[in-house]
């Protein structure tokens, strides 16, 4: 398994797409931090109001927290679990889908027929790469935070306690990305194509996050609220909010989040685990069951 992981790691790290995606992601992160910084410092002058019930000065303080330590870490994690999910979907679909389009899946399985190991090695390599991406994002975010801090007269350095929270936050952020990665891999195996994988993963993301299709259910309250609490998005929100709170942020001040209606963290972890296991089992089942070469 270690050798398979090393093979997958070599493929991923030598692939230009990996680093192009990371560069775009980091550029967008810098842009986001910079825009938050300017909003934070110009909010009162411009009268920026996010539309929540929180007073303007409270909102402004929240913007400020997002661009200085330790809240900056929360901001980076928020970026990772928001926009990062799209990049994770593209990475996952690219990693497995290309094996179909290039015919390399056949080359691999004609050597090592264990399809479950192949899938798990690929998944582990993808997750490891996501962790590396997160660490790089945190470093870049920190540098940007320091530079922005210098612009306003001083850097508010993170404490050791803040730094100690990072490993758990990284794990939490990874766990948030996991169902999207697995769902994408599932679609990729189903369609035996990169395109189907990307389309499936992004369609769900767009439906889930972008249009809030499923979020509308909660407005009906009662049973609908409970059903909504079983969706991926609502449970992911719980963990994302936890990561923000861990670094002193209060996203509910700037976005219409109803913390009271969110599932408990342990329940969120459990529900996401059920989704992950379902997607994983389906993907492996399909991969194992289907022929790899066509008729000739």
């Amino acid at each position: 398994m270690l050798q398979l992981f090393r093979a997958e790691w070599l493929k991923l790290t030598k692939r230009p797409m990996t680093w192009i995606l990371l560069a775009i992601f980091l550029a967008l992160l810098v842009l986001q931090l910079a825009s938050q910084f300017f909003i934070a410092h110009l909010a009162s002058a411009l009268g920026v109001d996010s539309g929540t019930s929180a007073p303007l000065e409270v909102q402004q303080a929240e913007w400020l927290r997002r661009t200085s330590f330790p809240g900056l870490f929360g901001s980076v994690f928020s970026h990772i679990n928001g926009l990062g999910a799209i990049f994770a979907v593209i990475m996952a679909a690219g990693s497995l889908g290309s094996e179909y389009s290039w015919g390399t899946l056949r080359t691999h399985l004609a050597r090592n027929p264990n399809r479950t190991s192949f899938f798990l090695a690929k998944l582990l390599a993808l997750l490891a790469l996501l962790v590396v991406g997160m660490v790089i994002s945190l470093l870049v975010g920190s540098v940007v935070g320091m530079l922005l801090g210098l612009l306003v007269g001083g850097v508010n350095w993170p404490s050791l306690g803040d730094l100690a929270l990072l490993p758990l936050a990284i794990l939490r952020a990874l766990y948030v990305l996991l169902p999207y990665v697995l769902l994408t891999l599932c679609f990729t195996v189903l369609g035996r194509s990169l395109l189907v994988g990307v389309a499936g993963g992004l369609l769900y993301l767009v439906a889930d996050i972008g249009f809030g299709t499923l979020a509308t259910l909660q407005m009906l309250g009662g049973l609908w609220q409970q059903i909504y609490n079983l969706t991926i998005q609502q449970n992911i929100n719980t963990l994302v909010v936890q990561n923000s709170h861990a670094f002193g942020l209060r996203p509910e001040l700037l976005t219409p989040l109803d913390l009271a209606s969110m599932p408990a963290p342990w329940l969120a972890v459990l529900i996401i685990a059920v989704y992950c296991v379902s997607f994983l089992a389906t993907a492996i089942y399909l991969l194992r069951k289907r022929d790899v070469a066509g008729a000739g």
Binding site: N114, G294, A295
Partner: protein
């Protein structure tokens, strides 16, 4: 274990279409076995089943003593394959592509340089696969097949895209591999290549084996003898058609083509002599494999 590949009633259906039907093959250790057939005959599907990539609808494929449905892993440790177009990661160099495969097979990276040298790609080892010509891709495919020093090598069109010199080198390499005890299963459209290299062949058409055997024997089959007579050819034709052990006689120009065993040529001479017909020429008909292939695969 004599049979390196053994298929028993191997069948694959894709919906209503039968891609491979009741295939019974036996490939012996150390031989070069040619696998021929027109496009869509089921060759790739068969190779897919031999490698455990395609699940048979019925029957079984046994490779190196292992049932490929039940125990593909131990068999594949000793099988090298180049399937259809060599498939590699376009952005990786030749060396990195082989490093990936070495890791998949649990081999040390050191083996990579040895096979790159074997197929004369060591000078281009750092170049990305996407920059390779078709011939270089074929070489890399062959290098990948040889990476783990397999006992059985399945090759699908190994000289496709190579220039004559390249084809000659690869054929020489295949011969060397066979001489050193490897078993080669060679699927090829280049019939002259199969004729030059293979000990035995099987010809597949619409998923079924329509001819199988030793290459020399197959070429003797069918119109096995060519006869020219000095006298009346019509009388000779009548005499030969009346002979029960001559399966078929066909007139082709001034010659008669006889489907008869070559070792009974003397009897044919005597038969005709008894009817006062002088034999001007009687010899084994030199059929090329290509002619034989076209004849048996024509609809």
């Amino acid at each position: 274990m004599d049979a390196v590949i053994l298929t028993e009633g191997l069948t694959k259906r894709f919906g209503e279409r039968e891609a491979v039907a009741d295939l019974n093959l036996k490939v012996h250790a150390g031989e070069i076995f040619g696998f021929l057939g027109p496009n869509g005959a089921g060759k790739s599907t068969t190779i897919g089943m031999l490698l455990g990539l395609v699940r048979p609808t019925a029957g079984r494929a046994i490779v190196l003593g292992y049932d490929m449905q039940l125990q593909p892993a131990p068999a594949l440790k000793s099988v090298g394959a180049m399937i259809e177009v060599p498939a590699f990661y376009p952005y990786l160099s030749a060396r990195d592509n082989l490093r990936v495969l070495a890791r998949v097979s649990g081999l040390p990276d050191a083996r990579v340089d040895a096979v790159l040298k074997m197929v004369e790609l060591h000078d281009r080892a750092r170049d990305p696969f996407k920059s390779f010509s078709q011939g270089m891709r074929q070489r890399l495919g062959l290098a990948a097949a040889l990476l783990h020093e397999p006992q059985l090598i399945l090759l699908d069109e190994p000289t496709n895209g190579l220039d004559p010199a390249g084809q000659h080198e690869i054929r020489a390499l295949i011969r060397t591999l066979a001489q050193s005890g490897h078993t080669i299963f060679l699927s090829s459209h280049m019939l002259s290549e199969v004729e030059q290299l293979c000990d035995r062949v099987a010809i597949l058409k619409a998923g079924r084996v329509i001819a199988e055997g030793n290459v020399a024997e197959l070429l003797r089959r069918g119109r096995g003898l060519l006869l020219r007579v000095a006298g009346d050819a019509a009388v000779a034709l009548e005499v030969l058609r009346a002979t029960p052990w001559i399966a078929a006689v066909e007139q082709q120009g001034d010659a008669l083509l006889l489907d008869a065993p070559a070792e009974r040529a003397a009897e044919i001479s005597m038969l005709l002599a008894a009817k006062q017909i002088a034999v001007a020429e009687l010899r084994t008909n030199e059929t090329r494999l290509e002619d034989f292939f076209l004849e048996v695969t024509k609809s």
